[in-house]
Amino acid sequence: MKIWRYGDNVNTDMLFPGKYTYSCSTADEIIPHLLEDLDSSFSKDVKKGDIIIAGKNFGCGSSREQPVIGLKAVGIKAIIAESFARIFYRASINQGLVLIESPDFVKAFSGNDSIELNLIKGIIKINKKNFSFPKLPKEITEIQNSGGLLEYTRIKLKKKNK
């Protein structure tokens, strides 16, 4: 598992350049351009199970769900940041990409530490130290448990139209 480390205010243009927004919408089209203007090695070297650790306001800028779809498709296990921008946060809930907001963890992480992530218990471990992160409200876990927002809406529509 590799840890990809980035700073504050990583915006949606860095995650997926705006010039491609109307030519790429499927995961296959998106993946080669992921983080293109931020880190040219990312899309080549990223592996399933990798984690991104970043600073404040990750995902700020445009409403752009391609990076979320792309990061989920390449198998990013979680993005851990000091904070996230709100549209990116919602988009991640909608696609089932795991985001963890933990400023304490990000500040304590030195870069070389080995980390363990337990999503069920809501704990990240650096060396032996535990950092817990809060569970999401039940309205949101319901969406995630359905497999994302569209699945959730499909189930609702089916029930309603019975």
Binding site: D13, G18, Y22, S25, C60, S63
Partner: protein, 421 residues
């Protein structure tokens, strides 16, 4: 309990009495805005659309503005699919290529009204607080779900109060004001929050307020709002909407804010956001003299008639520097026509400007004025992110239309106060 603007609106739309920050509520917005991304949105739900249809044909507002006229076969095909969708589902509010930028249309056509709730699959949907609407951006998947079901969840935000006092000096504009505020608060300083502007706002026109609320998202805000006053009511009257058509929502006097900021408008100087983040803000004076190659006046932030007027006043009888290109886009066809009638377009063209059709143009880097490596552009847009104008090795500086116009004449970044005083 005394409530903020956001709390009151969300209480009204969710029918919940006990509204406190962080509570999650279900709402049905009055409108859902989508643009060129409508093609990608409907692609996600083709089966469901066939089976269940859409929730309402009055809720969506669809505006083609981002890459217009189509730049490639792919964008042309997207536009075509959107037109077919509009026809099939009898979408009431559709604005094809050439009408203007989506946010301008929503306000100009009177969809955004005081006390209403609008969601849009575009981050600058937060603009409609200019007329007292609660509005915010969502993603494509959520827009797809809203098309089908008509409802979604929102978290009740904390609110920030910004008190403005006194008047702006000559040569200083709404754009300088919001840049100054974002520079102070930072790109994440208002994350998840609702921003309310209070105080001496009477001198700020709806155009000014639009510029300010448009950039709320650049400090992370969920929404940004000017509470309704005579200026709002007067503006709505001017577009043919009388008071009986809307229900104004005010914040309560004793509402709780997590932060308050005070700004004396008379102390603000022309400001500029330097590469590559919107909160990297400096007084124009600090980087005066920097050579630029492209100048851009337009976008949902500053492509209105008042902006074009300011540019024309400065460019009147002058030529732009031979070392720069000046690109100008009116934000809508109505603004374009108005500018034509007032002789503004003639002045701009004579000075050497290139007028592009009403739309987003070079703002998102897809076409019409992409930058080359090493080039610098001074723009009236709202974002200067690396790569935003199509090239990651170019630089974007954000400023007011006056600063951009005078800089186009000099070929380098220049403080407009020097010519306007």
């Amino acid at each position: 309990m005394e409530m903020t603007f956001a709390e009151k609106i969300l209480a009204k739309y969710s029918d919940e009495k006990n509204i406190v920050p962080n509570k999650i509520v279900n709402v049905t917005p009055d409108h859902l805005l989508t643009h060129d991304n409508t093609a990608a949105i409907i692609q996600k739900i083709q089966n469901e659309l066939d089976k269940y249809g859409i929730y309402s044909n009055k809720m969506p507002i669809i505006v083609l503005d981002h890459v217009i006229p189509a730049a490639t076969e792919k964008t042309a095909l997207n536009h075509k699919k959107i037109r077919e969708f509009v026809k099939e589902f009898k979408i009431k509010n559709f604005f094809d290529v050439g009408f203007g930028i989506c946010h301008q249309i929503v306000i100009e056509k009177g969809f955004a009204l005081p006390g209403k709730l609008i969601l849009g699959s575009d981050s600058h949907t937060c603009s409609y607080g200019a007329v007292g609407t609660f509005s915010t951006g969502i993603d494509r998947t959520e827009a797809a779900s809203l098309l089908l079901s008509g409802e979604t969840w929102l978290k009740v935000p904390n609110s920030i109060k910004i008190n403005l006092k006194n008047k702006l000096q000559k040569g200083v504009y709404a754009k300088d004001t919001i840049l100054k505020i974002i520079g102070d608060i930072s790109a994440s300083g208002a994350n998840y929050c609702s921003i309310e502007f209070h105080g001496d706002v009477n001198e700020l026109t709806i155009d000014d307020r639009f510029t300010i609320t448009n950039m709320g998202v650049e400090m992370g805000a969920k929404n940004s709002v000017f509470l309704v006053d005579d200026v709002t009511i007067g503006y709505l009257n001017s577009i043919g909407i009388s008071k009986s058509n809307y229900d104004i929502t005010y914040a309560d006097k004793q509402a709780l804010y997590i932060k308050e900021f005070d700004y004396d408008l008379s102390h603000i100087e022309p400001m500029i956001a330097c590469p590559h983040s919107v909160d990297n803000v400096k007084p124009v004076d600090e980087i005066e003299g920097l050579e630029i190659q492209q100048c851009f006046i337009g976008t949902c932030t500053n492509g209105r008639i008042s902006d074009l007027k300011i540019a024309a006043e400065i460019l009147n009888g002058k030529k732009i520097s031979k070392n720069v290109r000046l690109i100008i886009l009116p934000a809508s066809i109505d603004i374009y026509e108005n500018a034509l009638n007032l002789g503004i377009i003639k002045t701009l063209v004579k000075s050497g400007a290139i007028i592009l059709p009403p739309g987003c143009g070079p703002c998102l880097g897809a076409h019409q004025g992409v930058l080359a490596p090493g080039e610098k552009c001074i723009s009236t847009a709202n974002r200067n992110f690396k790569g935003r104008m199509g090239c990651k090795d170019a630089e974007i500086y954000l400023a007011s239309p006056a600063t951009v116009a005078i800089s186009a004449i000099k070929g380098k970044i220049t403080n407009p106060k020097e010519v306007l005083l």
